[in-house]
Symmetry: C2
Subunit: 364 residues, 2 copies
């Protein structure tokens, strides 16, 4: 899990093909090294769920980077091949990310509940509340069950023919990157232009975020003033069916920005360039962390809301879950505020003119 | 409800006695003008509860100012007399403030609930949630009942001998302020010294607030890291019995700061001086509004928590009340953050060296 092989700038004289080949073979190699370890971690503890899985983390890391490079620099490859590989990588990504997602949700919700009940230093808002232990037990039970199911699904798929086929593709990629004939000798400037396009996509997505509403702390954006639910494709806009649907619709553009931000980060790794060309940190990592926090808090809030719909819980339990739900939505809001503060600090050369896009029709 | 009679600076040549007499006769006159109007408002609508009561507001205004002046400039009066009058004013203050307090709590909670369900522009976190209408009806019912009871108590006491006796005292005060023999001819500097002492008290109280914990927005101070419950006088410190007790203990130093802030504001009115001696606004009014918001949100949060303990409510109702409770505690936190940002902006001459008191042993 060291960054050095991926962030080392390519030698200045390398062609676009050499840069891409170097990056993808390194990442495919990382994939192949991490895969048996991840399989071992998942399989060696049939009854337990490992709290930390370095192999799975390394595997996820490589999967994300290969998928990102194949997307951002897609013109260098056969389009059908790139789409196929990306589809398979996406499948593995979802598979690998599900159980850690439940684990983080569980850690986050139980920590929130405990800190609302008592911290080391002082009691919290739910100190001594009768519903807190029951809500804790309910959340723990539901999320452990979900983790167990995700783990079983992962175990099964790690032995599947589909995974073996993907591993074979990665073995080929680690040996030779199938560049299109014309693209191998392009200049590195072509890669930089494609990375810039990835940043432009990010800038456009960020331009659609309601950053004006999150400019002040405690604006209540994550709790009170959510974006209207967009009309379903092919259907008229109707009233929201429930709170979850509204929240999901409100969070979606932020999640989308998170995806594009990762893609832009990885594009920067490929070109080995930062805003000023020195390879210095660009703030993108920090923004990535903020949006990951947004995503996790939004998921945790949804899990608390779902737990509150469990039949036959007591009102005291439901009350505590309501507090926890609001607390996690507050984290969502805090992440939006933090993002809105940091985003304008990005080096302008990175974000480019797309940071402040022309006012687009607001469709969401 | 105009500020002009109270905030006009005293003529520079006036003695301390003339300044105090002028202020108190004006305020006693305001009391006597507002009293029949307040009684009429309360009595003329036996079945209804007026949404706005200008007479009661004016009466409260005068009651607060007379009580504040008698406290801050207490050395000018017979101590026994001043304490008696302040006790009676405090009684009337509580009586007058209770019903408007419930009214504001009701408005605040129902507005919060509605904005969590739907705003004009967009849906909120509880959009379409089944518990929202029930929680709304429950809160409305409980707070209307509390208002009605407070109103009946007020009606009864407005006809009491105790009120008539207080009104008689105010009639006397409007005619002649009973200054101690030696205090009448003191220089206005003596008043300024006593006003400075009121500011020093405020500075000491603010110095004990955990402003370091509220320095960053979204610090979770109002929800998660509350101050430990202070030991009961005469008893050992025990675990908190319930969340309400912990919250009340955590909010108490803020409420105390609010009381001292009002007293400092009124002292400034009496001396007719602002920090730079020009009579310009000092920021105290704004801080007063912030702490009033803190108090109201804390009360509203407590009301939501109390409603959640109603027997036989559904889990969905309890869940919504938990969200509303957390939402109001978030308002508490936002008020603390706002206070911590504004307090250092007070003119130093106003707040004096007591703004940064020496580190005192933290007893709460």
């Amino acid at each position: 899990m060291t960054d050095s092989p991926t962030t080392a700038p390519a030698a200045p004289a390398a062609s676009a093909g050499e840069v891409l080949t170097g990056y993808l073979t390194r990442q495919a190699g990382a994939f192949l090294r991490a895969l048996p370890q991840a399989v071992g971690e998942a399989g060696s503890r049939p009854g337990s769920l490992p709290a930390s899985a370095a192999g799975a983390d390394d595997l996820l890391r490589a999967v994300r980077r290969i998928g990102g490079a194949l997307h951002t620099f897609g013109t260098a490859f056969d389009a059908g091949w790139a789409v196929e590989v990306r589809t398979e990588l996406r499948w593995l990504l979802d598979l690998l990310a599900t159980e850690p997602g439940y684990r983080r949700r569980s850690v986050r919700l139980l920590a929130a509940l405990d800190s609302l009940a008592d911290t080391d230093a002082a009691p919290g808002m739910l100190a001594g509340h009768a519903g807190a232990p029951k809500a804790r037990a309910l959340l723990e039970r539901q999320l452990t069950l979900a983790r167990t199911r995700a783990h079983s699904a992962l175990l099964q798929e790690l032995r599947s023919a589909r995974l073996h086929a993907l591993a074979d593709r990665m073995t080929l990629l680690a040996g030779e990157v199938p560049l299109l004939a014309g693209s191998a000798r392009r200049s590195p400037a072509a890669l930089r232009a494609e990375a810039a396009a990835a940043f432009a996509d990010l800038g456009t997505a960020v331009g659609r975020l309601p950053l004006d509403r999150t400019a002040q702390p405690y604006g209540g954006d994550g709790l009170r003033r959510l974006a209207p639910v967009p009309a379903e494709p092919g259907g008229p806009a109707g009233p929201p069916s429930d709170a979850d649907a509204v929240l999901a619709a409100d969070d979606r553009p932020w999640h989308r920005a998170g995806v594009l931000l990762k893609r832009a980060r990885y594009a920067l790794e490929v070109t080995g360039a930062s805003a000023d060309g020195t390879g210095a940190p660009t703030g993108l990592d920090e923004l990535d962390v903020i949006l990951a926090r947004h995503h996790e808090a939004a998921d945790a809030a949804a899990a608390a809301a779902a737990a509150a719909r469990t039949p036959r819980i007591t009102p005291a339990t439901a009350y505590v879950l309501g507090v926890v739900h609001a607390d996690q939505r507050l984290e969502v809001e805090a992440a939006r505020y933090a993002f809105g503060r940091r985003w304008p600090e990005l080096p302008p050369a990175l974000a480019g003119p797309a940071v402040v896009p022309p006012p687009a029709p607001r469709t969401e």
